[in-house]
């Protein structure tokens, strides 16, 4: 299947194409085997061969490296092992000692050691003996020379006191040497110190120069901190007494001397501005709370209550008036009676009393009189005042004036109409028109009312369009028959009249005429055809014809007749004016508007209606419309509705002002 050329042929082609001849594999190894080939062999095989060589060389290198590392590792290990065992050189426990001593040398050694031990023991014994001798010697006052005692000589009383070595640190001991103290005394001193600290004496000394020892010092309170505590101590001498007793004595004498004694007689003290409270004698007032209050209230009653003679004329009033007045002052004084200070209280009471006296006492009868006077004064100017109501003169409870009425009518125009209907009928005929209702209200008397009632009946109907003096249109009535009713309905917007209704009516008439004419003509034509047929039959025309011919003739005749009829009709229809009106009715029989109709058609066309919400909305709208139509009777609110709906239809926003 596969076509293939031999190598020679291929080579021939290659030569003709300007390519190198093929290198046959057989002689390839021969050429590659000779490295002395100066020309670098770039053939793929040669490259591969070189690559393999390279790879081998690389592998060899790696192997060599690994071997080298292994050798180094081995050497290192060996060295480590050697190092580890280096410590273990020498003899082991199990190994035999090479330089074992013989018995004689060992005996010699032992003897030497024994001798050394004996010498040491002898020396120790000697030392022990010496120490024992030293201890045995007596401890006397002599030994205590130069030892200090950490107390003042005065503090130590004659009785035997046990002094002990003071407990110090080594350093302190090095510095100061041994010191004897009495634990009792030391304890007492410490306690005193603590108490002093607790007292917290003021550090500030106003009379600096009057310090205890007479010396003048600056900030003496810090002396202790700076210099350390001054210690009173003495040193024992060999006899067991204090070595510096004389010095101590001198000190004491000096101290005594420094206390100065003034010889001036004692000066009397400067008299104080204030009386010394201790010198004063105060009489303690007796406290008699309950009793005092009662007495005082009685007193007050005397002063405050009106004299019994005054209210004689109208005793009733006085009783009722004074009864509530009495407890008032009592209460006031009860409150104040809790105050202990008698003087203050009495002063206050007096003040209060004067104040009360100053104020005019208002008795109820006085009040009444005053009021009367005032009212009289007010009445004289003649102006109307609200107080007059109290006088009880027969005044009407509700005043209705023109203004209020006007306002009322402004607010609710429907109400007066109704009232007139319910209230008026007593003296007005039942046929009173609604239009007159308003007039009626404004009239004040019955007879005039009657006149007004009669007037509109005499007026012509055309007047309804005019505007009356009240500013409102005259109401139309339904009392004048169907025409008036229709007019009223039309006025209220319940009925709408077409503008071109006349044209329509004319058209209708024409059509009717046309139809009757047409029917007549048809009848005529039929008659004619019948008579023709009869004539034909009578003339014996058919007798001569065969049945087929007869049939044909009849058909021809019919055709002719039809043709003639059609011609006639065409002529007649020339003057036919069709009145095209597309009206669509929905499923409720309602007339649909153009928009609705379009929607309906669209829905029919696409086979799907509006959704639930929209359907509901539409249904509600229809329902509302129906209701409105049903409700739109003769009542006035319907008029409003009509107006509103009309405004809605004409797309004019606005508010109707009544």
């Amino acid at each position: 299947m596969e076509e293939s050329l031999s190598i020679e042929e291929t080579n021939k082609i290659r030569l003709s194409l300007g390519l190198k001849p093929l290198r046959v594999d057989t002689d390839a190894p021969a050429t590659s085997g000779k490295p002395e080939d100066s020309v670098p062999d770039n053939s793929v095989e040669a490259q591969e061969r070189r690559a393999v060589d390279n790879w081998k060389r690389h592998q060899d290198d790696i192997d060599k490296e690994i071997a080298r590392k292994a050798r180094i590792e081995g050497i290192k290990k060996a060295r480590d092992a050697e190092k580890r065992f280096a410590k273990l050189e020498g003899k082991g426990l199990g190994e035999a000692d090479e330089n074992e001593e013989d018995t004689t040398t060992w005996v010699r050694k032992m003897k030497k050691r024994q001798k050394k031990l004996a010498e040491r023991m002898a020396r120790e014994m000697e030392e022990e003996l010496q120490r024992a001798a030293a201890e045995r010697s007596e401890y006397t006052a002599e030994d205590l020379t130069g030892v200090r005692v950490g107390h003042d000589l005065g503090e130590l009383d004659g009785e035997g006191m046990v002094l002990t070595l003071k407990d110090t640190t080594i350093e302190e001991n090095e510095e100061e040497g041994d010191e004897l103290i009495s634990t009792d005394l030391a304890e007492r001193e410490r306690l005193k110190e603590r108490l002093d600290l607790k007292k917290k004496k003021p550090t500030y000394n106003a009379y600096e120069d009057e310090s205890e020892d007479g010396e003048k010092r600056i900030l003496a309170q810090y002396d202790e901190e700076i210099d350390g505590k001054k210690k009173k101590r003495f040193v024992l001498d060999g006899t067991g007494s204090a070595s510096n007793v004389d010095a101590h004595r001198r000190e004491v004498a000096e101290k005594l001397k420094s206390i100065a004694v003034t010889l001036d007689p004692i000066k009397s003290e400067a008299s104080s501005d204030y009386v010394d409270p201790a010198t004063l004698k105060i009489r303690k007032p007796k406290k008699m709370k309950a009793r005092a209050t009662r007495k005082r209230s009685e007193d007050d009653d005397d002063t405050l209550a009106p004299p019994p003679e005054a209210p004689m004329e109208d005793s009733m009033e006085v009783d009722s008036g004074s009864a509530p007045a009495q407890p008032k002052p009592k209460r006031v004084f009860e409150e104040t009676s809790f105050v202990d200070d008698d003087d203050l209280q009495s002063a206050l009471a007096a003040q209060r009393r004067t104040a009360l006296k100053k104020r005019k006492m208002l008795k109820p009868d006085d009040l009444a009189r005053q009021l009367r006077e005032e009212s009289a004064a007010a009445a004289t100017p003649g102006a109307d005042s609200p107080i007059r109501e109290d006088d009880g003169e027969g005044e009407p409870g509700l005043v209705i004036d023109e203004t209020s009425e006007f306002v009322a009518t402004l607010r609710a125009p429907v109400v007066p109409e109704r009232r007139s209907r319910s209230g008026a009928p007593a003296h007005s005929p039942p046929a009173t028109s609604m239009a007159e209702g308003e007039d009626e209200d404004e009239d004040e008397d019955g007879p005039e009312e009657m006149d007004v009632d009669i007037k509109p009946e005499m007026k012509p109907d055309s007047e309804t369009g005019e505007i009356s003096s009240t500013g409102l249109a005259q109401e139309t009535t339904i009392t004048h028959g169907v025409g008036a009713t229709l007019a009223m309905l039309h006025q209220r917007g319940l009925l709408t009249r077409d503008s071109e209704s006349d044209v329509k009516i004319n058209l209708q008439r024409d059509r009717e005429k046309f139809r009757t004419a047409k029917r007549l003509r048809e009848l005529e034509a039929e008659e004619k055809a019948k008579s023709q047929r009869l004539r034909d039959r009578q003339s014996g025309k058919f007798d001569r014809m065969s049945a087929r011919e007869r049939e044909e003739h009849a058909r021809w005749e019919n055709k002719q007749r039809d043709l003639q009829e059609a011609k006639e009709m065409a002529a007649r229809f020339k003057e036919y004016k069709p009145d095209v009106k597309l009206s669509y009715k929905d499923e409720f029989g309602r007339e649909m508007s153009q928009k609705e109709a379009f929607k309906h058609l669209s829905h029919q066309f696409h086979g799907k209606g509006s959704g639930k919400a929209k359907t509901e909305k539409r249904l509600k709208k229809i329902e509302d419309e129906k209701k409105r139509e049903a409700a739109s009777s003769l009542n006035a609110s319907a008029t409003e509705n009509a107006v509103q709906s009309a405004a809605k239809k004409s797309k004019q926003a606005g508010v109707r002002l009544m």
């Binding site: 293939s4 190598i7 291929t10 290659r14 093929l22 046959v24 770039n42 793929v44």
Partner: protein, 73 residues
């Protein structure tokens, strides 16, 4: 020297002797000499790889016994 098989699957199948460092262009001329179609018309493909003229067979890793698809443009 390698041998490459070219098959157009329309009845022409040739085995061509060539060198790995021949370019595809050279190879096409060899093929053209064997099948008698001009070299410019030959398109060599392996699946969707169209081989370009200036690249050698070794670069496309075409070795001994490889079969190539041959189309005519």
């Amino acid at each position: 020297m390698i041998e490459v098989i070219c098959n157009d699957r329309l009845g022409k199948k040739v085995r061509v002797k060539c060198e790995p460092n021949d370019t595809i262009g050279d190879f096409k001329r060899l093929v053209a000499a064997q099948i008698g179609t001009s070299a410019e018309k030959i398109v060599l493909k392996k699946w969707y790889n169209t081989f370009k003229d200036h690249i050698t067979l070794a670069d496309y890793e075409i070795s001994n016994g490889t079969s190539l698809e041959m189309y005519y443009s």
